[in-house]
Amino acid sequence: MTVFFGVFLLTLLLIVAIAMVRTDNLFVAVMLGGIFSLLMATIFFLLDAPDVALTEAAVGAGVSTVLYLAALALTAEREKIHTVHQIKALVVVTTTALLVIFATFDNVQFGDPTAPVHVHVGPWYLENTQRYMDIPNVVTAILGSFRGYDTLGELFVVFTAGIGVLFLLGARPKKDTEAAETLIPQQSETSEGLRNYLIPRLTGRLLVPIILLFGLYVQFHGEYSPGGGFQAGAIIATGIILYALLEGEAAALRVVPQWMLMALMAGGALLYGMVGIVGMLLGGQFLDYSVLADNPVVGQQVGILLIELGVGMTVSGVLLSIFHAFAARDKY
């Protein structure tokens, strides 16, 4: 039966992908992108990767849809010309695909528990997580501690993206003054959000606290169930973006002002770094949490909790900053 699920979802996925590329309406492509993400997330779930599924849903269907729409609002909705260099593209793409498919003609085993990928490093984590840190979610254990350095890097990738968008959109466009004058009256209208629409407003206002609460749950329950700092950050950011959509940009900025976003961004990254450095000062290696408490297992748990908090802070700060940077662009 699983076979059938997989085949069906993959087929839908491919259909959606082709439709996304073929349509000339970018808006439709972005909406289909939401479906694409949800399908992808469901497939990940089928493949026993609930953590990844949660991330893909939060990022693909939530954050990236919002970002694409924000960018579309500032650019163009329709694609003008479909394709250029079609032949070159087909040649390159076919070569790549043949190369990839060529690899399958040799003893590649998927799902076989004796395949090399399942007998070397992977099982070690499953066997030893209980012993070293005693938390049920092995994915969180690897993410937070065994490969915590990767996660530090990941955090800084997000941080870089945040810095980058703020830097890029901090530039004043050249024909600034003229455009600003014509658009000022309209700007106050757009920043109102959906305040005058009863149903979205009612349901939305109801959902904002639920989303935030859920975000906190994902944040602090990440050691026991799917979730963790990154997913929580994305969900919390989505919640506040929802608020911004309902009540307008300005209202959202009053609740979570710019300086607070900056502080979240930098603070989360610093928190993560500090945990690493404290580990070093207490005599361990960089990012060694077992020295954080008398009992190394407790130390690991404290460390993972703290770094997940750092990740959550930075991610929510960055995503919100990016969203505001795009939304504020409307004024020009």
Partner: protein
């Protein structure tokens, strides 16, 4: 102090990485520059310490989080990474020292802390790649460095920087994703991500197709990021429209770091394990390298913009580096590694001269530089001297690498003669394209109506001359670079030094 010495590899990455959140928040804007420069200096200092440890014969290893290698992430520094650490941190420091005035002129004060943050992030990303011994961790840091480089290039005041950077973003991401596919396939067959462990476990499966395909993906992906000839399209515009200090920084190290990875994977991982890998590698890389030298040099010969001219020259130099590697011999690889070092020196010096020019000249088209040598004698003298090093005149750093390259080619018999012809032709072309600039600057009359401009600000000029002189220092006393390079070549070929 010795307690800290064991943490050096972690500090090498940690120092630039963890100062970034602080720099974002620095409000009086000059402070951001000062903090970034200090951090960069300190990173350079750590790189020197690590190099000393490596020269001392120590095995520099570090387990992140205290988890030993295949399960946790390990860092390791050997001669090959040490020489690149010197290049990267040195280039960053030098470029930052020269950056202040130009950045002040090009970027609004409110955006400067963000700019310097991105700079340090790029530095941390490059350094992170170099010290990492874990294939996936390399990917993460590759992305930090790439994203930060996009931001830096987009800081250029010319609007053409934006399409250029978008192109770079697309091609860079494709390159990184190819790399990720390759790592995935290797992981599929070996079950590990640690490079040393991979090297051991790949032996059992080395004859299987996924590994071969993975080698292909990794080589092509990294070649894309390293701007190997037909995949170089992102580079010229990105270098041309970036702010000049950024060009100094990136030209000296971004392609080098990708080349480092390319060599590290192809030699350390695949060469001893894949049947006929050396032949495939040579057949694939050598034509590209020759093409890069000849075609990119010709493009440089007809180019009108000084920065783009030097960018094409960089692509040609990537050709020399790969030419040495494609011989798959000890001396060839030594030539390759030493040319990374020497080219970084020469290119940094040349772009620093461009930085000097940029402080005074409105644009950098060659015909608008007429007679500039009279007004900026020191700058043009530096340009001349750095140009000699790029060409490879005896006494300069460039000569050392050409010498090694020719020696390596001589071992190859008839093919080698052909290669020597290519190297000689490339050098002659370099003479021509640099001569065009010199000729215009020294012998043409100043354009009518150009206002008299003075010499470049002293700060930048001093930095520029420092780098130019180091070209001669490493040309006359190449002990450090040759020692590290031959050790690196031995490591790559699996001969323990």
């Amino acid at each position: 102090m010795s307690a800290w010495a064991q943490h050096l590899p972690a500090l090498q990455v940690g120092v630039p990485l963890l100062t970034t959140p602080i720099i974002v928040l620095l409000r009086p804007h000059g402070l951001a520059w000062a903090a970034a420069t200090l951090t960069s200096c300190f990173t350079f200092f750590i790189a020197v310490m690590l190099t000393l440890a490596v020269l001392d014969g120590q095995q520099v290893q570090y387990s992140m989080g205290g988890w030993p290698a295949p399960h946790g992430i390990a860092l390791s520094v050997d001669a090959f990474s040490a020489i690149l650490l010197l290049i990267v941190t040195g280039a960053s420091t030098v470029a930052l020292l020269a950056a202040r005035q130009i950045v002040n002129a090009e970027i609004e004060a409110s955006r400067q802390p963000l700019f310097y943050t991105a700079w340090l992030l790029a530095l941390a990303g490059f350094v992170g790649i170099l010290v990492s011994a874990d294939a996936f961790n390399i990917f993460v840091f590759m992305e930090i460095s790439s994203l930060a480089s996009y931001v830096l290039i987009a800081g250029g005041s010319d609007r053409r920087a934006l399409p250029a950077v978008f192109k770079y973003l697309v091609m860079g991401t494709i390159g990184a994703t190819f790399y990720l596919i390759g790592i995935g396939l290797i992981y599929l067959m070996t079950g590990t991500l640690n490079l040393a462990d991979m090297e051991v476990r790949i032996r059992e499966v080395s004859d299987q197709k996924p590994i071969l395909v993975a080698a292909g993906f990794i080589t092509i992906g990294l070649a894309l990021k390293a701007a190997v000839f037909p995949l170089h399209l992102w580079l010229p515009n990105a270098y041309t429209y970036a702010p000049v200090p950024v060009t100094v920084f990136l030209a000296a190290c971004s392609t080098k770091v990708s080349l480092y990875l390319l060599l590290r994977f192809d030699f350390f991982l695949f060469q001893p394990n894949l049947l006929n890998h050396n032949i495939q590698f040579s057949y694939f890389i050598m034509p590209l390298a020759i093409l890069a030298i000849l075609a990119a040099s010709s493009l440089a010969m007809i180019e009108r913009n000084l920065k783009r001219l030097l960018a094409y020259s960089s692509i040609a130099q990537v050709g020399y580096i790969l030419l040495g590697a494609s011989l798959v011999s000890l001396i060839g690889l030594t030539a390759s590694v030493i040319h990374m070092f020497n080219h970084a020196l020469a290119k940094a010096a040349l772009f620093l001269c461009v930085a000097c020019l940029a402080t005074r000249c409105v644009n950098l088209r060659i015909d608008s530089l007429r007679g500039v040598a009279k007004q900026m004698p020191w700058t043009m003298a530096a340009f001349l001297l750095a140009g000699l090093s790029l060409i490879g005149v005896p006494g300069t750093a460039g000569f050392i690498s050409k010498w090694y390259l020719i020696t390596a080619a001589l071992d190859e018999g008839l093919l080698g003669v052909g290669l020597i012809v290519v190297v000689a032709a490339g050098s002659l072309m370099a003479v021509y394209y640099l001569w065009r600039v010199i000729e215009v600057a020294y012998f043409d009359k100043t354009n009518e109506g150009t206002k008299i401009v003075g010499e470049a600000p002293l700060g930048i000029l001093v930095v520029c001359w420092l780098v130019v002189l180091s070209n001669y220092y490493f040309g006359l006393a190449p002990w450090l670079s040759t020692t590290l390079s031959s050790a690196a070549a031995q490591i790559l070929l699996g001969q323990v030094p």
